[in-house]
Symmetry: C2
Subunit: 283 residues, 2 copies
């Protein structure tokens, strides 16, 4: 039996449309409903096999769904959330797919109607530097990690059901508090983005001919700098404090490296590189 | 007609053995000769189709070869070089595959015997975080960039012949002075390695459970930190001054980023990310 009768996806972008495909392909819901702000996006969805129903009215969209997943852009997710959570009925679980969790989970938790709706944040760590429905694929979530961030007083049955949803999509699920989540992703996701971007920005001030001499190493180290600037500005803004903390701690490692070069401490430098290599093997 | 009668490869590691394979496959020389320090390595080579002759005596190995390529580890390349260049006869071109060029080119140029041998540095930008003959592949050089670093008074015919050699291996060849080369690779290769290593070393001080939450972004940004620590220590040691310069300039970009986060200058931060994205597209 499918986990849900109806799953509603709000915002059929790369993540949203990939979710629709995967839910349909794996038989996780009988009906997949899609809401989008633009009529043109809904028209496109209507032609897809993974879309059973479309709805252009946001408060209507959330009704009669076992699960509602907010996949709208980060910048208007909070407004959308408040509107949806208050309107949901019939024991609806509402979740999102955002990269930063503390603020949104606080709002979702506050707006939820006991007995009618529960909000639990999700962060499926899947994606691409590409965006848009046309890049959607049903295997986007396969074997990736998904963090879910319940509060302690959330109904256990709902937490379990949300966990099952992501597991059935092929993901490895971990539970963290919203705060812990944000602290961790500051280090393992937002800091790497910052670093890749500074490297690429630094090279934008060097002669363009230098770039012809770049190898695979530079390409890999800087790949994520091609992510969407507005999206990443919003992520960094939402997680500013933890990102500054991570940046400061990592800067200590850079300072140590600089000192070893300045003072020509080659044995120490080799130890540092070996420590980095050992840790990298665990990623 | 093959470009050379005999090509001699000194040191059949990942690069050396891949060179042998590619030279043989593309018919660039009639004979491929291999020299290695260890008898056991030579025994292995004898069983390979890409090896026509082996020689355990270094000064003998260099004789009667149109081209000698030093692929020995960075740390003893200079001693090996002095020995080979002085002994070569019959208009031999000698080159190497090292990542840093100024010192080695100075020694090679000084030791060369006019009319008998010419040393011209090469830096094929191909490789892997793996090392050793067992990872060798004949397509390692295909479509990659190779820098050659002649001095102004090197015979034009020899420079051209070396350029043809790398081109016939499928590489895109660029000429730079040894100094220019070192300055550029400090930014496009050695700095990215330093950055990837500091990120990985920073994470080695964080809870190991955090690493389970890492996505493809972190994996790519840190991949090259898995390179051999001793090899990279030697590279950074040889190119210390230019690497410090690059590190300082890049640190300015990091400082600017930190300031924008501190002062919450989100529009400026988005511009920075956009500049980084634009530059990344050119890599």
């Amino acid at each position: 039996m499918p986990l849900f009768h109806r799953v509603t996806i709000l915002g059929p972008g790369l993540l949203g449309a990939s979710l629709c495909m995967a839910v349909k392909e794996r038989g996780i819901a009988e009906k997949v409903r899609v809401w989008a702000r633009k009529e043109s996006a809904l028209d496109k969805c209507k032609q897809e096999k993974w879309c059973d129903e479309t709805e252009s009215n946001l408060t209507q969209a959330a009704k009669e769904s076992g699960l509602v997943v907010l996949c709208t852009p980060v910048n208007n997710i909070e407004g959308t959330l408040a509107e949806v959570v208050g309107e949901a009925t019939e024991n609806t679980i509402i979740t999102d797919v955002g990269s930063v969790k503390e603020t949104i989970c606080r709002i979702g938790h506050r707006e939820a109607q006991p007995g009618q709706s529960t909000f639990i944040g999700s962060h499926p760590m899947a994606g691409s530097e590409k965006s848009g429905m046309e890049y959607a694929r049903s295997d986007l979530f396969d074997q990736r990690t998904c963090m879910i961030t319940p509060f302690k007083d959330d109904p256990v049955a709902d937490v379990l059901k949300l966990e099952n949803f992501w597991t059935e999509l092929g993901m490895k699920v971990q539970q963290k508090s919203p705060e812990e989540h944000d602290k961790i992703v500051a280090s393992v996701s937002h800091l790497p983005h910052l670093i890749a971007s500074t490297l690429s920005e630094y090279l934008s001030h060097r002669p363009e001919s230098w770039l012809q001499m770049s190898g695979q190493g530079l390409k890999d180290t800087s790949r994520i700098a091609e992510g969407d600037p507005f999206l990443w500005r919003e992520i960094m803004k939402s997680n500013r404090d933890f990102l500054i903390q991570a940046l400061d701690s990592w800067s200590d490692s850079v300072t140590i490296f600089k000192k070893m070069l300045d003072e020509e401490k080659w044995d120490k430098l080799e130890d540092f590189l070996a420590r980095a290599k050992e840790c990298r093997k665990k990623f």
